[in-house]
């Protein structure tokens, strides 16, 4: 080969100057993105470490297991158990999800599939407004409007009609798990509904039209074409709602009754993890008391992480089965 040709090839292999410059920019931009992405992980890590550091003095004498499985909460004797708070958090969040997901999805189906196009902005505006209300306002509304209504109307009614279930027994106090769950349901409804709306809007109209063309009724088209397509997204919407419900502090503490006990009845007063942290942290002075509150925060972190992972797996499983048997 001629030497000139070799030189030419070498030149050709090396990227031209201009291109290399762009690559430097690309590289540094890439590095920057990695840095920011990593930063969120670092923050989460630092939070866990700081919580763990604060929580450690609490476990010099008590074991972690007896803390999680115990339900005694006595700041004077410094004997602490987290179970009643874990229970309260899970029960109120479950009530909220059970109520919100069907309503939110039905709402989204109505708006996307059935309502005339002019209705959507009229309805979605107040929905977004609902999401912007500060939680303390929800709490006050709950305390002064919803709780009296629960005590005088809904709880006596549920007690009479469904009183054979242990869930609806006991004196109607107004405050309690049911009040906490209901206020959470109102608070997470905008999240669940508005994301479900966006999800259903991404369903290609060709899918819907194909179903209709094959002779499906409107309901069948929704059930067989739209909903399966949006399944993952709707699950994601429920998950975001759940995330908010688990961590909600102010509104829940104002209506849940704040008593660290475990009751089967939804009418009874309970307590939740974020509520007790907010209530007691400012005035906790001993290392053990501060420590157990930090430990409760870690547990809340753990629950959120666990539920998120389970939901991820669920989404993956659903997507796989969808891929195998296309609707």
């Amino acid at each position: 080969m001629l030497p000139e040709a070799k030189v030419a090839i070498r030149h050709a292999r090396q990227p031209p100057r201009l291109l290399r410059k762009v690559n430097v920019g690309d590289g540094s931009y890439n590095a920057l993105l990695w840095f920011f992405a990593g930063f969120t992980l670092v923050i989460a890590g630092v939070i866990i470490l700081a919580l763990w550091g604060t929580a450690r003095p609490a476990f010099r004498e008590a074991s972690v297991f007896s803390f999680i499985a115990g339900s005694n909460w006595d700041p004077v004797q410094e004997s602490f158990g987290a179970l009643s708070f874990i229970y309260g958090t899970l029960v109120t969040s479950a009530i909220a999800l059970i109520l919100t997901v069907p309503i939110g999805v039905a709402f989204a189906i109505f708006l996307v599939e059935m309502a005339p196009s002019g209705v959507r902005p009229i309805v979605s505006f107040p929905l977004e407004l609902l999401a912007a209300i500060p939680s303390v306002v929800f709490g006050l509304w709950g305390l002064f409007v919803m709780v009296p209504w629960l005590r005088t109307s809904l709880e006596p009614f549920l007690g009479q009609t469904l009183g054979f279930l242990p869930l609806f027994r006991g004196p109607p106090l107004g405050m309690g798990y049911l009040a906490g769950g209901l206020i959470l349901a109102v608070m997470i409804l905008p999240t669940v509904a508005s994301i479900s709306i966006e999800v259903l809007r991404t369903v290609p109209s060709s899918l819907r039209e194909a179903a209709l063309a094959l002779g499906a009724t409107r309901w069948e088209a929704i059930r067989l074409a739209s909903l399966p397509y949006g399944r993952t997204g709707i699950l994601g919407a429920a998950l975001l709602g759940l995330g908010r419900a688990l961590g909600e502090t102010m509104a829940v503490t104002m209506v849940i009754g704040n008593s660290p006990e475990i009751h089967a009845s939804l009418f009874a007063a309970g307590y939740s993890l974020p509520a007790v942290i907010a209530n007691e942290f400012a005035e906790a002075t001993s290392a053990v008391h501060t420590g157990v509150l930090a430990a409760l925060a870690l547990i809340l972190f753990g629950i959120t992480f666990l539920l998120n992972s389970v939901a991820r797996l669920l989404v993956r499983a659903v997507t796989k089965s969808q891929a195998k048997s296309p609707a």
Binding site: D74, L173, S259, T285, S286
Partner: protein, 337 residues
């Protein structure tokens, strides 16, 4: 921190900034004081964060503020971490019992009845103990719904301190503190939360601060004090609680269940916490002058805001205490001395 540092630097040129943190209960009075004192001394500004008594104790212990504020005095354990912290009582507050029994006014309670209700021993409004104390009152045969504070608070500390003094059983099973394990009842967050529960629920009983009850026109119950008289919570009867008390030199004392004749039994001091020796000459001097002013001229501003001023014997003791405060080891010449 950066903001504080920048703010401090900007202000340092023409004025002095003294930072403090702590109790929420005296916050309305303290902000009034800071405001009025600033009018007298325009070069001096206060920055007070009402983050709670626990936070106030933490911050003065760590030295991040010039003064802390707390409703209950520091415990021995807390004081061991900062032995040079001095307690200066500023005003008194009291805890009042409110109830919502339809048609019931002018409720009277003795210590044993009140502790019985909060222990869950007295569960009905027509309990013989309540009937005997309130002859002629309309007491229904309904269950008592007990409400208490769910957040850690000085109000709860004073209330449970009183119950522990008057009831051996309370002392044994519950004890006293800012947060306790309540035998019965449901918790409301803050004074407004407890008031919310009591107002919304027929047959409920709860406790709130006197100032809060006065401002919201809640009718309090009269309590039987140590000398046997039923006393309504007022500014005067709250001040009275500390007038006969034996006050130790460090002021760390509970004045609940006072033996004074006209004293309301559930009352307590609220304190400012300062270091005995001030390191910064300008700020230290200004802070000590302010303490003198607050416990003298400042006392006149207390009653209009529903805080009980210190009784005279206590003011005299505070004077002695303030004079022992030093700036870089040297005593300060306070106004009026």
């Amino acid at each position: 921190m950066l903001c504080l540092a920048l703010g401090g630097a900007a202000l340092a040129a023409d004025s002095l900034l003294i930072t403090g943190a702590g109790a929420t209960f005296p916050f309305p009075l303290y902000s009034k004081w800071f405001n009025e004192y600033n009018k007298l001394h325009p070069d001096l500004k206060f920055n007070y964060q009402s983050i709670g008594s626990g936070g106030g104790i933490k911050q003065i212990t760590e030295g991040t503020v010039e003064f802390g504020a707390s409703d209950p005095p520091m415990t021995d354990e807390e004081l061991a971490k900062a032995p040079d912290v001095v307690h200066i009582p500023t005003v008194l507050g009291s805890v009042v019992i409110i109830q919502n029994v339809p048609g019931l006014t002018k409720l009277k309670l003795s210590p044993s009845t009140l502790s019985g209700i909060y222990l869950g021993k007295i569960t009905k409004w027509n309990d013989p103990a309540l009937v005997a104390e309130n002859p002629g009152a309309k007491l229904p045969a309904d269950a008592i719904l007990v409400a208490h504070r769910s957040d850690g608070s000085g109000t709860t500390a004073i209330f449970t301190d009183y119950l522990a003094k008057v009831s051996p059983e309370w002392q044994k099973t519950v004890g006293a503190g800012k947060s306790v394990k309540w035998p019965v009842g449901i918790g409301g967050k803050g004074n407004e939360g407890v008031t919310g529960v009591v107002k919304q629920t027929p047959d409920a009983i709860g406790y709130v601060e006197l100032a809060y009850a006065n401002q919201n026109k809640l009718e309090p119950a009269a309590l039987k004090n140590k000398s046997g008289a039923y006393v309504m919570p007022t500014i005067a009867s709250t001040t009275e609680a500390a007038s006969d008390a034996v006050i130790p030199d460090d002021f760390r004392v509970s004045v609940t269940n006072s033996a004074s004749k006209g004293a309301y039994p559930i009352a307590g001091f609220t304190y400012l916490l300062v270091r005995k020796d001030q390191k910064d000459p300008a700020k230290g001097n200004a802070l000590i002058q302010f303490l003198w002013w607050a416990t003298h001229d400042g006392q006149k501003l207390a009653a209009p805001l529903d805080y009980a001023p210190l009784p005279n014997p206590v003011v005299k003791k505070v004077e002695v205490k303030v004079k022992t405060l030093t700036v870089q080891g040297k005593p300060v010449n306070v106004a009026g001395s």
